[in-house]
Symmetry: C2
Subunit: 453 residues, 2 copies
């Protein structure tokens, strides 16, 4: 047994010329077993004054070994006193993860206040997006608004228009739900056959968080909205862009939340602190940030961001408006473009799937460009209008392959191929590209973004 341990690694490795084979096996096999530790400590008491268990063992062993002493040296973190609790009262990622940040696509917009910073999907796990990596899409920059001064108004076709403070809202009945949030322009470049270099840039206007707030339906009831004639609400942000979006009343009364909480704490300033609309299943622009007003109306408002932007350019030259539901979609996040497989063998293919119409029912994965499909494992919980993480085993034989994922939601809708989508939608659009994504793995192991028809 000790031979195999010796072959396979570095920690507590027992070299062949160890002075005492029996002891070497004791150490490697039984490690810090308390009974045997007593024995070892007696035998080697002189070897070390430090009696911290692991340390003592290693030093004891090292002192009996006349080869390279580093072989048995434990790393510094196993032999020293670490940093105190609360070194960071609000914790931060490891210094070794400093490359894992939101990234901006240079030149994508004219000013960085009306730009995008993408979520690094290629390095994330599960379904929760860390709030520090939640994508940003602003129309006139972001703000850190004093919550004690923030006000939220409901007016329009209501009996009693009201203005709420944050304190007012946070005393009300609240709900907490996990939902994805995707910009309507996510994966926009793929319409035009521009293969952006990584899944961070191709799909990174996508995040998923647990949101907490008061259901909009409760607030609308409290204000006595006109149940007979109300058809829509208008959500208005407090930012300089005056972001405004029309939302159908049925949707507003269903699962829309006036939210202050994101992943357990208050919203981050870039994500609308102290108040944003959570409109599950709808494109991100409808999740109005720095929310200051909801107006109840009887027809769509045709505001700038729905009359000029966020429309689907169709092949016949017309524009589709108010297509704000994010259809069923998925993407493989590892392996993905920009990553390199270092060798043949086993890999876990993983990715996320989501649908603005409900739960994900199934995700299929192909490693041959869509000819054959296998069904992936879905991680629990599978929630409505929420990212679903999928995983599937794969053994790479070293030949070039095309990796694809295809999601199916509970309505039976199947994520389309890019040519199927183009047949209906043309290629002039910017918005609502939910096509199957293809990653090519070359013989070298390099993964790149390709379009497969």
């Amino acid at each position: 047994m000790s031979h195999e341990i010796k072959k396979s690694g570095r920690i507590l490795r027992a070299p062949e010329n160890f002075v005492d084979d029996k002891l070497a096996e004791e150490i490697t096999t039984h490690g810090l077993n308390a009974e045997r530790r007593g024995f070892l400590r007696k035998s080697f008491l002189a070897a070390s004054a430090a009696m911290a268990s692991g340390t003592a063992l290693a030093q004891a062993a090292a002192s009996s070994f006349d080869g390279d002493p580093n072989i048995l040296n434990l790393p510094e973190h196993s032999t020293t006193l670490g940093k105190p609790v609360r070194t960071n009262p609000y914790g931060l990622p490891s210094k070794f993860e400093s490359n894992l940040v939101r990234r901006e696509s240079p030149g994508l917009t004219r000013v960085p206040q009306a730009s995008v910073a993408f979520t690094p999907l290629q390095s994330l796990f599960g379904i929760i997006t860390p709030s520090g990596l939640h994508f940003e899409r602003h129309h006139q920059g972001w703000y850190d608004i004093d919550p004690s001064k923030h006000r939220f108004m409901i007016n329009g076709m209501v009996k009693k228009p009201k203005v709420y403070t944050m304190d007012d809202l946070m005393r009300m009945p609240s709900v907490s739900r996990i939902h994805f949030l995707e910009c309507g322009a996510n994966t926009a470049m793929e319409w035009g056959n521009v293969a952006v270099p990584s899944v961070q840039y191709s799909h990174g206007m996508l995040s998923c968080s647990e949101f907490t707030g008061v259901p909009l339906s409760i607030l609308l009831d409290e204000c006595g909205f006109d149940k007979k004639n109300a058809k829509v609400v208008l959500a208005e942000g407090g930012d300089g862009s005056g972001m405004t979006r029309t939302i159908p009343i049925d949707r507003a009364l269903d699962d829309v939340i006036v939210a202050w909480g994101m992943n357990g704490e208050m919203l981050r300033p870039e994500n609308g602190y102290p108040l944003r609309l959570v409109a599950p299943g709808l494109q991100g622009v409808s999740w109005v940030k720095w929310l200051r007003r909801i107006e109840v109306g009887d027809k769509p408002y045709a505001t700038k961001d729905e009359a000029v932007h966020y429309m689907d350019a169709m092949p016949d030259g017309t524009f589709r408006q108010y297509t704000s539901i994010q259809e069923c979609k998925s993407v493989i996040t590892t392996p993905s473009s920009g990553q390199v497989l270092l060798e043949k063998g086993f890999y876990n293919i993983t990715g996320v799937a989501w649908s603005g119409r409900g739960k994900i029912k199934r995700v299929d994965v192909s490693v041959d460009g869509g000819r054959n499909w296998r069904t992936a494992r879905l991680e629990t919980p599978v929630l409505s209008k929420c990212l679903t993480r999928f995983n599937i085993d794969w053994v790479w034989d070293g030949s070039p392959v095309i990796l694809q994922s295809r999601a199916i939601d509970e309505t039976g809708y199947v994520q389309p191929k890019i040519n199927e989508l183009r047949a209906v939608r043309g290629s002039k659009s910017i918005y609502h590209n939910n096509a199957i994504q293809s990653w090519k793995v070359a013989e070298s192991g390099e993964v790149s973004n390709v379009q497969v028809y």
Copy 2:
């Protein structure tokens, strides 16, 4: 309608002496309706060169008003260009939330490397704990270990002992699951009738995250563990304290994960980066951080942290060992000790419930010290060995009251009163206090920590 708007708040408020009542109503009622905005812009074109919608409106309105100009002035964030995207490549909380941090109880331990920093439960929402606020409990400080140098070994009663790199592990089949993590000594002070000042200190060694990693069962299978004779595994940390814990083999093969991911990203250094054990339902000390080794054995190892610490002192002078499952428990987080209710009226009572034995089935709330109970709403999803958020409506009439919550898990176990728990366990214990917590609301609205028998 305009009168009510005037009364109720500040935003877009239309004063009574507004030059044009009709226009005032237009602005307050219809706000940024695009059609009407066109009209307004024409009427007030001279008033403002900035045509950003909200800004233009407010400035236009303000210019026609001869009272206090501040009444109609929009806040700076509605009239200026904000900060660019990626001001923080890794985002941070608002400056107004700087008080929401982990806190250490001074004098709790002799050195801050072997201390606790508590999670501020009183200000959190939902079930996900932001990783920056995850509680800390170290035995010899924390480390930021280079993952490329970290190794993980499996040995003991296995056919093929193996050492894994992080790359090796992260290629393997992975799972993502949301679980709570509670220190066995959480709520320890309440055994001795010491009413600590807030739920952060009384219950804040509790967090809940989505963890991602490879099931330990897969690794044990790969190493060919001795299915006939194996009874336990020993988990060993790479820290200077040589943290080691025995875990029954059935549990290890069930839902234990060798994890690198927490809330979507790599573990934080304080929480075991790059690798920790996730042992759902077990006390925190078994979730060994900076995990470097699993040894398979045939009897409990009786290591320092199970033979000397983390034992339950019983009334008869004996000690219970290996009682590592965290029993069903709950606590109201708002209102809670240290908070103040500013006035009578409606409040949302909210808190969390959890059980190391499965799902939460029901949470009851009493506002009269346990005489009457009402069943709270559970937020979805309700997951096994996971925090469950509960909410319940409450109208405070201004009289003194005692608030309590009582959780019941899917096994039928009911969270005990403190006197029921003391009848069995005495009061010498430090560990495993899962009693019902009582908060007293005084006539002044001040909430304090009390014990109710």
